[in-house]
Every structure is written in structure tokens, then in C-alpha cells.
């Protein structure tokens, strides 16, 4: 019967239609991405310092570019290093950030290990804008890959009250030698019972500061050759470190919070370190007015040693192959790369001393700090920063320091300094071979 055929045809048609309907119904829920908003990610450590500066920059940039979202992720520095190494060596940019903060000691290692992974920022980072000693760390074959951020200019933070209690004046603290520093330390320990400084056996930054104050490093000028033997300044630095340990004026700490807690809780009278430590010192408001900053002590036995050095300091890098790298570069260029007001703000608000030269003419730099008893700390620090002897950190700073740390332990157990350094040289040579 015709009618039957027709109806069955109609029914099957309906079925096909309904199936097609099902198919289309389930497929349209997939592409619901947040369109338009470009997202870039930045990694850094230290909430009070680097992260705070990033937040400030983000606020400025997002205001002008509402279609960009900047995500700031805080990681421990060691985690960033680990993740970067894993990601870059696997060749996959998956999970890597657009912007990353790298300590200057390590920057050459990254630039050389992963060529083409970082974006060329030569047009942003010009030598008229940033201190030259800083630019060297991020320059490779004439191209500049980073934006210098904070300065590692060192200073000797000291408790003016405790020094005076021990019978010394603020003038005595200026342009010290380490020998004099130990002498004062012993007096402080004797008079006040307070240790002079903290030492961390796993982080011999003091050696590094001493070394650079004399313009030498673990490696020679080429950035590669181990420079342990025949390095008078290094030898004197290690010996001075040994004296610091053995003078019984130090408190041993093993991690950052203990390092910060010691000055904050009044357990130590001085902190010889990079100026990035300032926000941490200022974290303990009850000690306002008690602290002062003097130039870092120099090595009295080494003629080239000056009362200025560098510790740490880091710079921003943009990963080239991660999606959104152009936006990231634009973001860095418009904030850290050119914005004077921004630097004034983070300096004023967070005590972050950048290395952007035009910002140093701003009035915040000449401001007197209440916390530091009216001292013009920023002006002083920028003056000292100009005296820092320039060295090439090269590729192996931390690897060689690990070797030296072990040798320092040997030294403390009574080994001979020359044997120790020769050992270190041998180990270092075998390691880079």
C-alpha cells in the first residue's frame, strides 16, 4: 500500500532528523573559550619585593590594556629554575610562563643553554637607560635578552644602637675593613651578647661579596675558566670567611626565614647584604630608627678591594616561543623598560631599588628614610652602586660555589687553604670539561 510506504519514509526521515539534531546539539558546547582576553603569565619569587613590583606594573598595564590579563605566579626561586630547565630542555613551552625573573648569577647559563628561547629585547634595554654592569649579564653576542630589574648593590645594615652600646659610632662604621668589622663584632658580642651577623653554611654570599669588591670571581674574564688558584682576592675572601666563622660572632641559620628573623628579632647587629633586603629589615616596624646602612666592608689585605659590591639582583626575561610573547614584551617595555613613575612608585611603596637610570633623578631617591634615622638611603645606595667593580659571572657561579662550600668545611676542619683551593680548582675543571 502506497500510504504505508509514504508513512514509513516519513518516519525514517524524522528519525534521521532527530539523530542529526542530537549530533549538532552536543557539538556546540565545545568552543566557549574566553575570547578577546589575552592572558600572559609571569613567574617570580619574594612576595614583598619582586611580586609587589609586578603587581604594580600589572595594575598600570591592565588599566591601559583592558583586553590583557596578567597572571602573576609566585614560586620559590629553586622551583622556577627547576621548571624552566625542565620545560626548556624538553623543547615544549607547555606550562611555561611568558615572563620570568632570573637571578643575574644564572642568566648567562640560561641564555647559553637555551639559545633562541628568550626574546631579543635590545630595542627596550638600551645602555642609556640601565647601569652597564647589569646589562652585561643579559647580553649575548651583541643582543640584549633581559630587562634589568633590581640592583644587588650591597650595604652593611647595622643596628646603630647596638654599635654605640659596644662603644663605636656611626662614623666608625663607614668604609670598614672586614678585619675592623670582626673587631667591632667581638665588642658587640661582648658588650651586648648579640651576634654580629648570620652565616649560612649553605650560602656563602659573603665570599661572593668580598670577591667582587676586589673585582674577581670564581671564573676568569672569559666566564668559563675556573679561577680558584692564583686568585689572591678569592683566597683572602675565603680566609676572611673562615675568620668570621671562627670569631664566634655569628649565628648559624639554614633558611631564608631564619635569616630574616634574626635581625628582626634583634639576634644580630648587622646584615651585610644586597639592598633588596631593605624591605625585610623594614618589616619589623618596632625597630624603626635603629637601623642604618653603611658601605660594605672591604678586604683590608687586598688593595683592589673597595667598599662596594654586589649580591644577587635579578632581571626579567621574556620567553620567545610561548604564546603571547609580543604582548609580554609590550608589557615589560611599557613598565619596567621605560616607566620612570613606576620605578618611583615601587621605590617609595616597596623600597624596590631598580636599575633604571632615568628614575634615579626622581625626588624619591633623595628622600630621607625615617626608618633609617633620616639617612638618604636611596641616594647613598645609588652612589655606591656606581663604585661596584664589574665582573663576568659567567656560567658556573653556583656550581663552583657548591665546590667551594665543601672546601670551606674542610678549611674549618683544619685543612690548608692552598690545598683547599687547588682541590676546588681541580674539581671545577673536571666539572666543566
Amino acid at each position: 500500500m502506497n500510504f504505508k510506504k509514504l508513512s514509513s519514509l516519513l518516519l525514517s526521515g524524522l528519525l534521521v532528523f532527530s539523530l542529526a539534531g542530537c549530533g549538532s546539539g552536543s557539538s556546540d558546547s565545545s568552543n566557549s573559550d574566553t575570547e578577546g582576553k589575552e592572558k600572559i603569565v609571569a613567574w617570580a619569587w619574594d612576595k614583598n619585593f619582586n611580586i609587589a613590583a609586578l603587581e604594580e606594573a600589572k595594575a598600570i598595564y591592565e588599566k591601559e590594556n583592558p583586553d590583557v590579563e596578567i597572571e602573576i605566579v609566585e614560586f620559590a626561586q629553586s622551583d622556577i629554575i627547576q621548571k624552566l630547565n625542565t620545560g626548556l630542555s624538553s623543547g615544549s613551552t607547555d606550562g611555561l610562563p611568558n615572563i620570568v625573573l632570573i637571578e643575574d648569577y644564572r642568566s648567562q647559563t640560561f641564555l647559553k643553554s637555551y639559545p633562541d628561547s628568550f626574546k631579543d629585547l635590545s630595542d627596550i634595554t638600551t645602555s642609556d637607560k640601565f647601569a652597564p654592569y647589569k646589562l652585561d649579564f643579559m647580553t649575548l653576542e651583541g643582543k640584549t635578552y633581559g630587562i634589568p630589574f633590581d640592583t644587588g648593590t650591597t650595604g652593611l645594615f647595622y643596628r646603630s644602637d647596638l654599635i654605640q652600646e659596644a662603644g663605636y659610632t656611626d662614623e666608625d662604621m663607614q668604609d670598614l675593613t672586614w678585619e675592623k668589622f670582626i673587631e667591632i663584632g667581638k665588642a658587640v658580642k661582648e658588650k651586648t651578647g648579640v651576634d654580629m651577623l648570620t652565616l649560612d653554611p649553605n650560602d656563602i654570599g659573603q665570599v661572593r661579596m668580598m670577591m667582587q669588591s676586589a673585582g674577581t670571581w670564581y671564573v676568569k674574564e672569559d666566564g668559563q675558566t675556573p679561577n680558584f688558584t692564583d686568585n689572591e682576592a678569592l683566597k683572602e675572601s675565603v680566609l676572611m670567611y673562615q675568620k668570621l666563622v671562627e670569631a664566634n660572632i655569628s649565628k648559624t641559620v639554614s633558611e631564608w626565614s631564619q635569616f630574616v628573623a634574626a635581625p628582626n628579632s634583634g639576634e644580630v647587629a648587622t646584615v651585610p647584604t644586597g639592598c633588596w633586603f631593605m624591605p625585610s629589615i623594614m618589616g619589623e616596624e618596632s625597630q624603626s630608627g635603629l637601623w642604618k646602612i653603611a658601605p660594605l666592608p672591604r678586604l683590608g689585605t687586598v688593595e683592589t678591594s673597595v667598599n662596594a659590591s654586589n649580591l644577587g639582583g635579578s632581571s626579567w626575561y621574556v620567553l620567545d616561543n610561548v604564546e603571547g610573547s609580543d604582548v609580554a614584551k609590550d608589557f615589560m617595555g611599557k613598565t619596567f623598560g621605560s616607566n620612570s613613575d613606576f620605578y618611583q612608585t615601587i621605590l617609595d611603596k616597596n623600597g624596590v631599588i631598580g636599575t633604571y637610570l632615568p628614575a634615579q633623578e626622581g625626588e624619591v631617591y633623595t628622600k630621607e628614610s625615617e626608618f633609617f634615622g633620616g639617612q638618604k638611603v636611596f641616594a647613598d645606595l645609588s652612589e655606591w652602586s656606581s663604585e661596584i667593580p664589574s665582573v663576568n659571572y659567567g656560567l658556573h657561579t653556583y656550581a663552583f660555589e657548591d665546590i667551594l662550600k665543601a672546601e670551606v668545611q674542610n678549611l674549618l676542619q683544619g685543612a690548608d687553604i692552598d690545598t683547599c683551593l687547588t682541590n676546588a680548582q681541580t674539581q671545577a675543571e673536571s666539572q666543566i670539561r
Binding site: 532527530s18 546539539g25 612576595k47 651576634d195 666563622v245 639554614s254 633558611e255 631564608w256
Partner: protein, 577 residues
Amino acid sequence: MFKPTLFNKISCVIITSLLITSITLLTLTSNFFKQAFIRSYTTTSSSILKEVVGELETVNQNIILTMQQYKYSIPLQHYLTGTFSEKELFKLHYDINQSLEDTMQAPFSSLFYTVTLGTNGKLFVPSGRSLDVTVEELETLDITRLSKASPHQVFYTYLDANNKPHSTGKIIAATQLINPYTNQYFGTVYSIIEETTFRNLYLKFIFESNDILLIDSSGHVLSSNNPSLIGSQKKELLPDHTTQSLQTKSLEDVLLLSYYLPHYNMYLVNTIPYDFIFKDYEQLKSLLITIGLMMICLSTLCVFFITRRLTQPLNELILQMRRNSNGQFTKLNKVCTDYEIKQVQSVYNQMIDELDDYIAKLMEEQNKRRQAELATLQMQINPHFLYNTLATIKYLCWQNNTKAITLTINALISLLENTIYQKNEFIPIEKEIENLKHYVTINHIRYGDAITVDYHVESDCSHYLIPKLMLQPFVENSFFHAFQVKKEGRIKVFISKQGSLLNFTILDNGDGITDNGPSSAQTEPTNQKHFTGIGINNVNERIKLIYGPSYGVSLTSTPSIGTEVTILIPISSEMTN
């Protein structure tokens, strides 16, 4: 409105059952889909949970491995049990870090950090880590007490951020540090996972709207992708039984899957709002309903048409039969090819045939009977006629008018012979004319010859057969009724052939028939003057019986001019002699 017709009944039954079937089917299907959606989300959810649980297990294993290493660290044991000078400490710190270096390189080491608290009250945190909890907080943790009670076990607990700035909640594992060789107890080790770190472990498993929560056994939310839930009390999310590892629970608006983490003594819970699960289902449902409705409408239409088609022939049958009800039975047209209807039609038509046959037979019988009656009638000579004729003869005898007597008796004998002895119903026209002439003779002798009768018979007609005494009653009628006033006149009989017809015309120039004239004539069928029992009415009836209704007698009359009677009968072969 609702007539209990077959159409209505069938439509009703089919549509009702269709509706019931469709609705049942729809309900079943939609329930099935609903279950399928829940099942698929349960599967997804449980595999998500298993993934997360796997990660958490790995973290747990790493924590245990790390703690194990701490137990083996001799420098740490020294540090946590003795007292040392700064110089000794300087070396110890270095040695501890060296001995624990492996733990810091471990793949999951960035997820947690480890703190040890020695029996001498000293705290050790490996370098590179910052400590976010105080010693007091650690000492007062319930797991510190628990782990001291059973020192070889690892216990987990949760520490609130307690509104500290830049601080998050922490999941803390603790066990006792016991040197595995000397069995010397030297402190407590804590591994601390920040809630935010913990959250990152399962954050990648968050799709659009599910929530993953970590709940302790008292219903306290420790960690969640939804930060607003952290710290809240959600006892209702706890599974009903604590024995099984994976459990499904259905709350009012969410599908809940929970996994018990025995190491952590916590529950990992994944909740998916039903709204989300049924988002696709709702689409499907509306599609189902739309299709269902369309099918129902379509089927209803189909049912209507099919039922209509089925019942249409019946209705036509009814209409046709109804038309037949006024006594006229015609056969039904073949309209339908359906078997049943065909049968009804053929049975009905057969019935009509039989009925027609029966009626025809009946009619025929009746006709025959009537014809027989009429035939009997025409053979019965009115006794009055005989009496009157005989009386006339007697009178003639009296007069000795022998000639007239002979004439009259001859005529009477011929008449009697032709009517009584001649049994044939049909006679040739010449015979009928002869009879007429005898009859007229008798009448002339009786009543005088004031009324003359002329015969004009076409010569080729005289041999045709006609019913006996067909013309006599009209001549008789004219004799006795047409000349009441005029007393004299003429009667003319014309017989002619008109094609296939025979035309008999009896004309008189008598009084004509007034309106009540013929009635007086017709109301005297038993008039004594009548020759036989047949009146003019009977003639007409007889002709129609014999030849059919289209033949018969017609009468036109004009008062005082005359009357014309015309009889038409067909010529048929059998009518020739």
C-alpha cells in the same frame, strides 16, 4: 456531539493507545537518558577522583620517603639532640643539608617542605625554604600527640591560616624521628603542604562547574577549588559509610562522589551540580518531546485517514441503503476493494436480486390471476342481456316478424358461440368486428336503428389478434350513454396500423361526457344492459396487463359534439393468425 460510530470508536481506541504508548515510551526514554547522563558523569567523576587520589598518593609516598631520609640523617639527629658551638653548628648545618640533598631534588619536593623539631627544642628547616608556621603551632597540633603515641605511623592534619597575612591553610603530615639502627628517638618531622599547592594538584581536573573539596572526617572543608568553601562546615558532603573507598551520594542539587583517603584520613569529594549534568539532557529532552509530539500528531493524522478510509465504504453503503428504503431496491455500486465490504455488497446485491426476482414472480402471478379473472369475466354473458334479447325475440314472435327473429337468433347464437364456446383469449380483428356487428344487430332490433355503427378497418389489419371483446365495451358504452339527449347519431370504429402499433378509435357524435358523465357510466359496472362483466375500465386494465403500462385506453370528449376513445396496442408476430 460524540456519535458512537465505528470511525469514532476506532480512532478513539487507536489514538488513546498511541498516546499511552508514546508517553510511556517518552518517559522511559527520558529516564533512561537521565540515568545515562548521571552514569557517564559518575564515571568521569570517579576517574577524575582516582587521578587526584593517585597524585595525592604520590605526594604521600614522597612525603613518607622524605621523612624516611630524615630519619637516616645522622647530622640531623646530632643537631636535634645535642648542644653545639656556633662553629660546630656551622658544620652541622652544612652536613645536614648535604645528607638531605636527595630529598630536595626529588620530583615532588617543590610541593611541600619539611620541618623538624628536635628533642632539644631546636628547629631545622632546610635552606631555600621559608617557614610559615611557629613552633608553638606545630607542638600543639593533635598529630604531634598522635604520632608520639604510635611513632611509626604518619598522621595528617590541617592547620588553618588563622588570618595571618600572606598565609594559607596547610596540610601537615607528622611522624616521629627514630633512628632505624639505634632506635633512638630524636624529634618530630613535619611535612607541610600549602593549601594553594595542594589545590594545584586537582585544579586541572576542574571542568566547567564541578567542585573538588578535601574534607576532614568532621566535615571541615580543608581545600577546594572554590576558595569560598574553605573553612566551612559541610557535614552533609560526607559519605554515609566510612568503610568504602569510592562512594556516590546524591544530594538535592548535586551529584557527589567521594573518595576516602586512608593516609590522610580525609575525604576527597567531587560535586557536580545536576543543573550542569542535565544541561545537555534538557536539550535532548526537548528534542525528544518535540519528536514525540510530531510523531503523535503524524500518527493521529494517519489513524484518522486510515480509519476514515476503512469506514468510508461502510458510510457509503449506509447512504445507498438508506436511499433504497422507500421501497425501491437498486443494486449497490462496487466502491470498495476491502474484502468485508465487498462481501457485504455482494450479499446485499444478491439479496436485492432475489427480492427483485421474488417481486417479479409475485407481480407476474398477480397479473396472471387478474388476467384469469378478467378472462373469466369476459366469458360470462350477462343474464340480463340474454333475458332482454330473448324478451325481444318473444316480442318479435308475437309480431310474426320471422325475418327479424331469424336475424336476432343468428346474431345471438354467433355471439354466444364466440364468447362462451370459443375458449381462445385472443381473436383476429375480423372476428371481433363480426361479434360487434352481431351485437349491434341485436341492439338495433331491440332499440331501433337510430344509432348507426360504421366500421373502417384497414384491410391489412384484419388478421391481427387482439384480446377478445376489447372493442365491444366501448361501443356498448356509446350506445347507452352517448345518446341520452340526441337520441340518434353515429358510431364509427377505425382500425389502422401506425408503424408498429395498432390504433383503434371509437368515435361517436353523441352528447359527450360532462364532468360527472363518465362517473355515472363507470359506476354501473353491473348495468343490466351490459353484455359481459367487462366494463371499459377493465379493458384498460387488461391491455396494460397484457402489453405493458405504456399501452392502453385514452379518452377525449367534447360535450354535445362527441367522444373519442383511442386504444393503442403493439403489433407482435404472435398476434397474427
